[in-house]
Symmetry: C3
Subunit: 338 residues, 3 copies
Amino acid sequence: MWTLAEIAHHIGGVVQGDEQYQVKGIATLQGAQSEQLSFLSNKKYKKYLADSSAGAVIVSSDMATFVAKHAIIVDDPYVAYAKAASLLNPIASSATGIHSSAYIAADANIDPTASIGPQAVISAGVTIANNVVIGPGCVVLDNVSIGESTRLTANITLCEGVKLGKRVVIHPGVVIGADGFGIANDHGAWIKVPQIGSVVIGDDVEVGANSTIDRGAIEDTIIANGVKLDNQIQIAHNVIIGENTVIAGCVGIAGSTEVGRNCVIGGGVGIAGHLSIADGVLLTGMTMVTKSIRSSGSYSSGLPVEPTSQWHKNVVRYRQLNKLVDRVKQLEIANKDN
Amino acid sequence: MWTLAEIAHHIGGVVQGDEQYQVKGIATLQGAQSEQLSFLSNKKYKKYLADSSAGAVIVSSDMATFVAKHAIIVDDPYVAYAKAASLLNPIASSATGIHSSAYIAADANIDPTASIGPQAVISAGVTIANNVVIGPGCVVLDNVSIGESTRLTANITLCEGVKLGKRVVIHPGVVIGADGFGIANDHGAWIKVPQIGSVVIGDDVEVGANSTIDRGAIEDTIIANGVKLDNQIQIAHNVIIGENTVIAGCVGIAGSTEVGRNCVIGGGVGIAGHLSIADGVLLTGMTMVTKSIRSSGSYSSGLPVEPTSQWHKNVVRYRQLNKLVDRVKQLEIANKDN
Amino acid sequence: MWTLAEIAHHIGGVVQGDEQYQVKGIATLQGAQSEQLSFLSNKKYKKYLADSSAGAVIVSSDMATFVAKHAIIVDDPYVAYAKAASLLNPIASSATGIHSSAYIAADANIDPTASIGPQAVISAGVTIANNVVIGPGCVVLDNVSIGESTRLTANITLCEGVKLGKRVVIHPGVVIGADGFGIANDHGAWIKVPQIGSVVIGDDVEVGANSTIDRGAIEDTIIANGVKLDNQIQIAHNVIIGENTVIAGCVGIAGSTEVGRNCVIGGGVGIAGHLSIADGVLLTGMTMVTKSIRSSGSYSSGLPVEPTSQWHKNVVRYRQLNKLVDRVKQLEIANKDN
């Protein structure tokens, strides 16, 4: 249980109502029970304020008069909710030390405050800093280094020599440092190009479930500080992702492409190789990027859903565009002749 | 070996020919050897009936006269084949009990009829019902509950508090309950929004290899009874999938979207967040869904493949559509003036 | 350290300069230090030749005069670089034998030269040939057979009965042989079609991280010799991929489709089921293939990225194509009447 005063202090807000009122969890406006804290960040949910059973609500100042019970008034209710939720739902601490069923190579260097879970594998030459958590079933291959307070949940693979910064969060099934897709055609047969670079992940990076980040061909693949990656993202060899860029699920970025800082990349986007994407670029979902983008702004491609029967017609029209242009040209010529 | 009478009884069909004829496996019409059972469900394969070596064939009544040998006549040969194949290829039973190399938390509650495979991890507070199979290398984190006869093949991760129904089948590499992609921009830096909801999976659900289903931000992500998911599907936080909906591989569904019942979603489809898809919607492969779909029916988007040289021309024409419309407008004005 | 003479011998080149000059690693032209070997395969990087600190450079004969220091002259610098990199960066040998934390079924047949890593699981009836490496956390289910010198890095799942050829390389998180997505609609409910085929992988195949290859419904899914698959590829049941075809990341191929030999499939491509793709087909990234391709050549689809404001306009124009065609028709009629 937390008092509103304690929460307001943590999130940088001001209590409207009883500062000593106690709440015991976060909920949505519609789902909240009394003694729960809710929030209003998207104004379209304002209609739920009046009927909400929430004991207290985080709101911006212009919404404060609409709150029936207690409120915490903040500048940015969504950020404040995130901070309050972190306060009320602390990450369960993991047992310090090495689980008896884990395998640890003799020369691995593991800080005594780290936690290594059941069935994990820590290979030769690995360095693990203080307060790191390596969850069950994770495999950390030779010479990986992991910065302080980084957490690997479960069933993750870090390949040889990968470097992770501090406070990184990696979700299950992620593979970092597998070989990039380097092949050379030797008279018809494809031979492997050894991938001798590595992957360097900065501080405060998050990587979603089953995403993959390949090691570089010669130099390293780089994910800068503060980058947030969703699930099932594929990042090819020698890609560089700039600071604080966020990428939604199912995105694929081909080799050697450099993505700027503070970009927002929507789900399912594909970016071809050897391109450069400027800082501050926003790409809407499923956009196909085949050339570099030199200035910030919002970019898109793709055709939105329509009834299949209409789609069939439009596809035909699209394919006849050339003919249509010719017909217009004929009309223009005829017009001139008149 | 099964007699045709036994199989016909199981699949609800009628034998044409020798009821005591014995078959020992299922095969395609072209691949079948004598003593094997085949089926004809797609009429375009009718041409293979005459030359098939199959000892018996499952067919609909209108095809019965074309079968050279024995037949089982049914209403729906594809469903009947599925049932016959299940009868002839029972799932190998797993050794009951806990493998010596598995790690089981002291307070996990595991039914004695369950099977826990090698190198598996069952964490604190987990409940596993009767006849559940947890395959090798699976990691089941704290407080997960798994309903009866559910099967996890191998290397699967179930995160904290996830609930699985009965007779669920989960394929390798699946991750259920990883954190949803919740971030808030706090003056330029992205901070994490704790994901305190969970995932609830109904009965008779199947989840294909390497698919991911994220836990909810506050409330739960929900997969209803009878949903079938193929491989490499990404389901974001707070998505709800209705009963008996089937989703093909490589589909991504963004956060808080609600998909109806009895939908069929083709491979590679992307659905944006906060949308609602009606019951009975069919989406063809690679469709981009950016707005809600309010009524059942078939929907599509995307441009089909063409030779690259043509594609280049069509892309140029597409980009000049605005100019083309202007040219037509000019012609219309000129025509009026005449 | 290797002399240029040794490297030239290995890659089939001729030394220009000191044959006894020694190098100790591969680097890019820009990143190289003295004593490192670099290469020039893409002529657009010629500008970096003069200033490179590389001790020696692999080049084609027409570039030889531009090399300031030592050179190895070859026909194909990229292939030669791949071979040199393999020579200078040999794969670390794995400890022969079975790690004490692995679980091996009593009747598994493992060659004494094979290496089985920590926490691996080798199930009943598995056959593992000489010099095979099974990395940490891999799960090899019943009756799998693995050919000589094949390497599984870590956390890989091979399902029942899968067959792998010789010198196959499988990256982490890969799942081979999970059930294909076979379902039949039995009066509204979907029932499972047992997947009783398997997967057969040829020699010299590479499979990228988190890719999935499903087992066949009745007959086998087949990946022919020399096929190279990148990360997060989904190959459905009964697909056949021809020899030496290469497939980039995030591609999905639906059931029963047959892809020819020597194809090159770009990232994010989707290919529908039951199609046939000829030998020597090149598909550019994100192409949507909904019909068979009967002859070799380059094929494409999709609309490239543009500013979102333009995209909105173009989408509207696309949707009005039908009306535009009608307007042109009206103009043509009016013109005729004049």
